[in-house]
């Protein structure tokens, strides 16, 4: 009994929502939407630019990788250090003027 009366009470409280009137959307809203869409189109980067940028980045990465690999290859070819590269050649001549 108590349960049903509290439900009824809640229903009554919710009845107040029926009094809320529908309002019209603000007049400026459509204009705002159109300007957002227009601005977005202007700021959007075209696919051509994206493709060009991607191609440029790929070329740079390829060149960089090639240089690294070529450098490694050169170093690998010449692994045993010569005695000159370790001990700088010294001048053994003693000159007494």
């Amino acid at each position: 009994m108590k349960k049903s009366s509290s439900k009824k009470q809640m229903e009554d409280k919710l009845e107040i929502f029926a009094k809320i009137q529908k309002v019209n959307a603000p007049d400026e809203m459509y204009g705002n939407i159109l300007s957002i869409l227009k601005n977005r189109e202007n700021t959007t980067v075209s696919m051509t630019w994206i493709r060009n940028a991607a191609a440029a980045i790929l070329v740079l990465i390829s060149v960089e990788s090639y240089m690294l690999i070529a450098g490694d290859f050169k170093m690998n070819q010449d692994t045993t250090p010569t005695i000159e590269s370790i001990i700088p050649s010294s001048n053994n001549l003693l000159i007494y003027d």
């Binding site: 409280k13 929502f17 009094k19 309002v23």
Partner: protein, 173 residues
């Protein structure tokens, strides 16, 4: 149907639904604009499994809920950083109530119920909004929410019970 026709047919519906979720004119306008931008972007992918109106209802509900979530997150961050308050939930539900559809004499009582409504879980809140504020039938509500009529009925019963508890707690304060 072109975009302008879609807008003129659904703008009031979207704006009023946003108002019911956000209870603030400025926020509702911002969200309603976002809704129409989403509609513009996704209209090509709209499959006619449901009516256009139902589809727009779903977009509006999801966008409003996302906005509320983002606003709560921002408030939480602000409160933690600026005030160092231990329990940010205390003020999270404070909405700047500005619903132009509410009559002056009803404002206080409607605001109280909206405050309680804002504390409900999102699905319960949505059911109350669609059934009582949008005056939709249970079948229409079920269609919009992608649920069975039975599930809608049960959500509504739970919503009423929780609303009653929240309102009684608030009156006791």
């Amino acid at each position: 149907m072109n975009f302008q026709e879609i807008y003129s047919e659904h703008s009031n519906l979207v704006f009023n639904l946003c108002l019911h979720y956000l209870q603030n004119k400025e926020d509702a306008q911002e969200v309603a604009q976002d809704v129409f931008i989403k509609v513009y972007d996704k209209i090509h992918s709209f499959k006619e499994n449901s009516s256009l109106k139902t589809w727009i209802y779903r977009i509006t509900i999801n966008t409003s809920l996302d906005f509320i979530k983002a606003k709560k997150r921002n408030k939480r961050i602000f409160l933690y950083s600026a005030l160092q308050i231990d329990d940010p939930n205390r003020v999270i539900h404070a909405v700047n109530f500005d619903h132009p559809g509410v009559l002056m004499e009803d404002k206080e009582s409607v605001e109280k119920i909206f405050q309680a409504l804002n504390k409900l879980p999102v699905e319960q809140k949505t059911v109350v909004i669609l059934l009582r504020l949008e005056q939709k039938t249970q079948a229409e509500t079920a269609d919009i929410m992608l649920k069975t009529i039975k599930a809608v009925e049960s959500l509504f019963q739970r919503a009423k019970k929780n609303l009653n508890t929240i309102l009684n707690e608030n009156e006791g304060l």
